[in-house]
Assembly symmetry: C4
Homo-oligomer: 254 residues x 4
């Protein structure tokens, strides 16, 4: 196995599908949204991608069996809009792997006639936010205008460090193939898995796709997470003295 | 030498052999078991694998000659069950090498008509255990049930970090080739070479293969190691004060 | 995308052009000079180079759109001397990538009939200099003599650590293709972007090319930078005590 | 330049030559010996090897010109024994590069009909030695016996960490091509360039090759180095107190 392997599982005829990418990243925001969509829409797994660029390990599952590290494509044949959903356990462990895998994902996008891509991620701010906003970065000026209507925020030169990994490269490289693409980034502390930020991203995505998705599962996870964050804040207050504690800055948690 | 080289040394006709992998890893548990089998069964070396993914060095032997870093396959033609034994000095030094070499080993497995693979390793617990158990992770649910009969333990999502290296990848990737595979992991402190844990793994393996193996050599090494561990524990007690010393936690030894 | 991609944007017929490289490096001296030339000469972008050896990320621009990491070639068709200008966001993130990309740039140089190459960079001294000099290193003894006339300094075995990256490799590898090449290095502290050092390099380059370039933009940036450096020096003095403060050694600023 | 390049400079007809490798390594012992031989024998450069596995930089020379990082082969056509001498600025910067380059050097050895290889290096002991001995490791038992006659020391399993880099791999990989090879390692502190250790290795080599080489240049460098080592020892004594100072242990110098 010297090369990346694309394993086709089943065929689902799709019409003009939109591709949504949600691989692991900051606050696992993109992963939470994309996996939530897969579950709620009962999307069907159609492709598995194996690669020597992934970490050389297997994941042990609840039932005692193992699972190779993969990136997977799910298909959803809806009444209205058809979707392709890209999810996975890890991103590439090498620089070159990010470019190669993004190229493979865009080959698949072209094969399915995808004309628009949403990549989903988190934008780490170092602070716990009560109302996380959703930032955007696109590969076309028209998309900037369109996305502002759905409440997406565009800030000059933000994120300053650029967008690293598949979420960024897909938006950049899809331009060379004339596919419109936008990266939606939920603001998040960057310290913890963040289902609240995922909810914010999902709301924007639902508006943009004009679909309805039950959010109860994300809501429940967000509430659990709130409790953990609440405890962390309390610990912080008691450690630092009540007065001086900054309520929302938990930068020291990693 | 830009590519991995497979050097065939001799041919041994085998019938429906089982492949057993024991390369270096946690506590060298898998290596101890597989090399013990090679010696006790007087298995014959049939293949040497050289690779630019191995560390760029040679090993100096007792007689003043050097030995390239290799992974090697030994064949055992028994009365009952034929075996292929995979042993070696090192695993790959690169991520991609783990995938490539595992692919090469599975090509060989297919060539020999292997229908089942046992990969052997250690599972580091951070504690010295008097009766090390053997954990398992498989690529088929039927194997989980079968292995429980031999005393193999399956715990939900354990090992939590997955199984890294050839032992894990072989179990995962062999599924794509319809070969049953199980990883047997002897629990071990993770700090020292552990022949006692190797004995525990070997006992399970003998039951599963329905073969008998003299264990005296492992027994002797285990007793030597017991003495070393005993001394370490004493040192720990005298350092920490008799009362407070945790008897089995030697996490600080590396 | 497993390979470096050369994307041709437009064709500009050039006569015996000179190639000037100014990619990011110490003090961004080379980048400042080359980008200043692109702007002042209104040079036209003719080639974009994408590579899996670049960092796997995109840059977010002012208007909310993203830009892939590229190296770019601009063409200037002048009254006198035609120029090719090589600029970019990043150099290769891998060792091998430096060699590959330099090879690609020299292929392009040969294609355009380039007979001389100037590579531009900074030479970090650890000190703020009022009158930064320009050091040189060439691939022909004739060029050493010629460049001394323009005020370029050659010091035995300097820089002692050699010249790392594309600026060095282009000078070395172009010898194998019989192209004359020189690396011009503006002395700079190495701690900050240094437009003053860039001015010094540009002056030498203008003499060597016998062209005139307005330097106001660099002048303005240099003045801004002077203020920042001034403040840093003051901070240093107040921290260290006025007497003992070394006026030009700000090695601790990174 | 994605591949290693072999550049032939001139042809020298050699009869049954012996290959001597002396690339940079511990104490630069091998490099000192091989370069001394090139100079004393006035050997002629016949091959330059360039590789993307070398560090991506150029070396600036005394005259202001640059030099690519290379490994080079020199030929010596003697009255008696013909020699090929392999020297260079750096070894590979990557693991895989060590294997690839060693393969290339052995291809050249086969092309020239080499039947024996000497690889030269240092063996770091952590101590300054007045009479450094020369250790050996070979790829044939006959060579062990032969080399003992020239005073080469063989110690069980020494060096314990194996022999890293081209010096080790050449001895190991040449066995697969039926070429006899031995690595001669001069014992050295490992902290400083060591011409005295180089002299010891050269003496063994001269006996083995039955040639005479003037050693004055190495002698002179060794004397200079003695003075530096002497000063270091004095500094050590004054720091640690005269009585307690260990006379030959300067492990703290790097």
């Amino acid at each position: 196995m010297k090369e990346t392997i694309i394993r086709r599982i089943t065929e689902v005829p799709l019409e003009d599908p939109i591709l949504i990418e949600g691989l692991p990243g900051v606050g696992h925001v993109g992963k939470l949204v994309a996996e939530h969509l897969v579950e709620e829409l009962k999307a069907e797994k159609i492709i598995e991608v194996y690669s020597p660029h992934f970490p050389p390990q297997v994941i042990v599952q609840d039932d005692g069996t193992v699972k190779l590290v993969t990136n997977e494509v799910y298909a959803y044949k809806g009444d209205g809009r058809d979707l392709l959903l890209l999810v996975g356990d890890y991103q590439s462990a090498t620089n070159e792997g990010h470019y190669e895998l993004t190229g493979i994902f865009l080959d698949l996008a072209e094969e399915f006639g995808v004309s628009r891509i949403y990549t989903l991620g988190g934008y780490g701010t170092g602070q716990f936010l009560d109302k996380p906003r959703v930032m955007g970065a696109t590969n076309s000026l028209e998309l900037v205008e369109e996305m502002k209507e759905y409440g997406v925020v565009f800030q000059e030169n933000e994120p300053g460090g650029g967008i690293i990994g598949v979420s960024g490269l897909m938006v950049g490289l899809s331009r060379l193939r004339n596919i419109d693409a936008i990266c939606l980034m939920g603001m998040t502390s960057g310290y913890l898995v963040d289902p609240k930020s995922a909810q914010a991203v999902l709301k924007v995505l639902c508006k943009a796709l004009d679909i309805k998705i039950d959010m109860q599962a994300l809501e429940d996870r967000a509430k659990e997470m709130e409790k953990i964050v609440g405890k962390l804040r309390e610990m912080e207050k008691s450690q630092m003295g009540y007065e001086s504690a900054s309520d929302d800055d938990l930068r020291y948690i990693r």
